[in-house]
Amino acid sequence: MTAGGFDQIHDELRAVARDILGKAGAPARPGWRLLAEAGWLGLEVPGTLDGADATFAETAVILTELGRAAACGPYPGAVLGLGALRQLVPSPGRDELLRRAASGETVPVAVLSDGSRDDVPGGGTPFRLERTIGGPRLYGRAAFVPDAADASHLLLLSSDPDNSKMLAIVGVEPDAAGLGVEVQPVLDATRRLALVTADGVEVPEASVHQFAGDSEAAVQGLLDRAAVAVACDSLGVSEAMLDATVAYAKVREQFGHPIGSFQAVQHACADMLVRVSVARELVDAAVRAVAAAPGHPETAVAASMAKAYASAAAVDVVGKAMQLHGGIGYTWEGGIHAYLKRAALNRSLSGSPAAHRRRLAARYR
């Protein structure tokens, strides 16, 4: 298919998503069944498992629109969970999870890193498996995990006791004995983050999944996927705030003229558009890279650039939106605060801009 063909599919997907999310309130609270019926949950699931055989490029369209709508719900967490499942050695258990995830029966959320440490680009395994006479047991903790509290199945990244060089994914139910999932309230009311702890959780052997390929590359690919997913959200947030600000500047009058005719306002809006345009290019490039070559070093570069730029740009763009909306922009009722909190949270999720630039700069030596 030509690039133009993909563009058209993405345009249609985007239009549908904007329509559905537009009807889901503000901030949007789309129900999980709605997302399943729209086919968004199974986008990347193989057709043989009732999925759509699509790629991260299509998922990214949805992620961006969720950001635009400041939508609630565990879709980003599930995107990471599905991404993790697809990297595992196929097994009946894994395939069943993928099938049920596509239909919306289960919400698999991956826990890959501890958000209290800003070293996401480098990783660091949050959980460890220990062999005991009674079978494997899981220990560890990960703070500030997006969507973990809404998961019906948790996929925890763990060290493998049988092979110190390998990592594994351990699937557990949230109500397993010894597992803690404690919501950590944050200012962004559109998100739910949780502290996930495992203190000797008994794990059936069938729930310990090996990565199909090199586990280090697979985990890197998943961390990049997580970072780019956040970058997509930030891009959507920026787009929404630019649109809202331009629309407001056209109708809000002061001194007898629309404020959008004043140069100070025009130039601020122009700067917003430039930032959003650059962010979109970097995010598009990173999305293509994640879809085509997950775990590849060049994909990591594109992911870090997109996350560093788009997540920082969104804070600036929303900040300008609040400023240009004047007094109403600062009110609770006005709603821009929700976007500012979301943009600020995005900036810290999946590695700060500074952490990603550290990773980029390591290549200069």
Binding site: K250, P258, A270, V274, S277, R358, Y364, R365
Partner: protein, 389 residues
Amino acid sequence: MEDLDEFRATVRDWCRAHVPADWRRAQTGVPDEDYVAFQQWWFAELRGAGYAVPHWPARWGGGMPLARQVVLYQELAAHDAPRLVLAFVAIHHAASTLLAAGTDEQRQRHLPAILGGEIWVQGFSEPEAGSDLAALRTTAVRDGDRYVVNGQKLWASGALHADWCLLLARTDPAAPKRRGISYFLLDMRTPGIDVRPIKNAVGESHFCEIFLNDVAIPAASLVGPENEGWRVAQETLGAERGLTMLELAERLGNAGFRWLVEACSRLGLLDDSLVADRLAGFETEITGLRALCRGLVERHAAGRAGPADASIVKLYYSELLQRMTDFGTEVTGLPAHAVLRKPASSGWESGAWLLDFIGSWEWTIPGGTSEIQRTIIAERGLSLPRGRA
């Protein structure tokens, strides 16, 4: 992909064989004649390889696919090749104007001549028509089969060496200011033309004043209809901007940024987390710029370019160049102040950081200042209500 790798290898081999090893030193502080001769020689070298006008249509000697153009510009920059400074207006502005709005006769007359080394200058700005370009006062009065031109042009870059000039002049003083302007091709050997160089902030004299005193232009040298010159100039702007920026963006990434990293490495600054952070920020922004430029060219070719896309690219490049050369000046410290000259024929980032930094205002001011670009982006790109300026 394989095809591109092969092409890259070909360009690399060509660069190794043709880029003179010592040209930077040899071209530093040279007299004007030597600079012009060097530019003409380099243009002929590129032409011989088919690399001089890759962006032109195939029938005129171009036709290189966009992906290959990007590779060509990357490799030329990576091998520190000289830039085509003197031919710049000819191969970009003049060519895109002729291709978009010229007659067959005008194209036949000039495109092969440009490929043969004909040098062009742009005669748009005037003392009272800078940012407000449409306020230009130079007049062209029809007199039989010719126009007689009087007035003064300013900031005409390269006018001293130019064979031809892209000229905007007023043909209907009574019409609203954008409606009474016509677009001409002016032979610089015509009697009545006086060119005087102006020294710029870097100390170079490549831009000039052009005084026009009863200068006769044949009516056949009108481009587009009479009084439609503003539209012709606007329409060709987008096309040329994307193509010129493609090369400049690749050069910023493959030469300027590389030198910045090398300078920081030499000074032991890569261990400084603030420096490393700034470098990674610049690399990220240059990557975004390169994608923007490529997107602009692709959208333009597909007829889908937005009305402010060219302004976004120009504004972003200009200010990124300024911030990056500023940073280069800051990190290289006092030694940057002792670099008194930069090599002629080098890019906007030559590694002479302070001179490059000062020279970056030649991007944020001409061709529509950054302020004008922001207004265009707001009013055309975002459809905000027209301001009072």
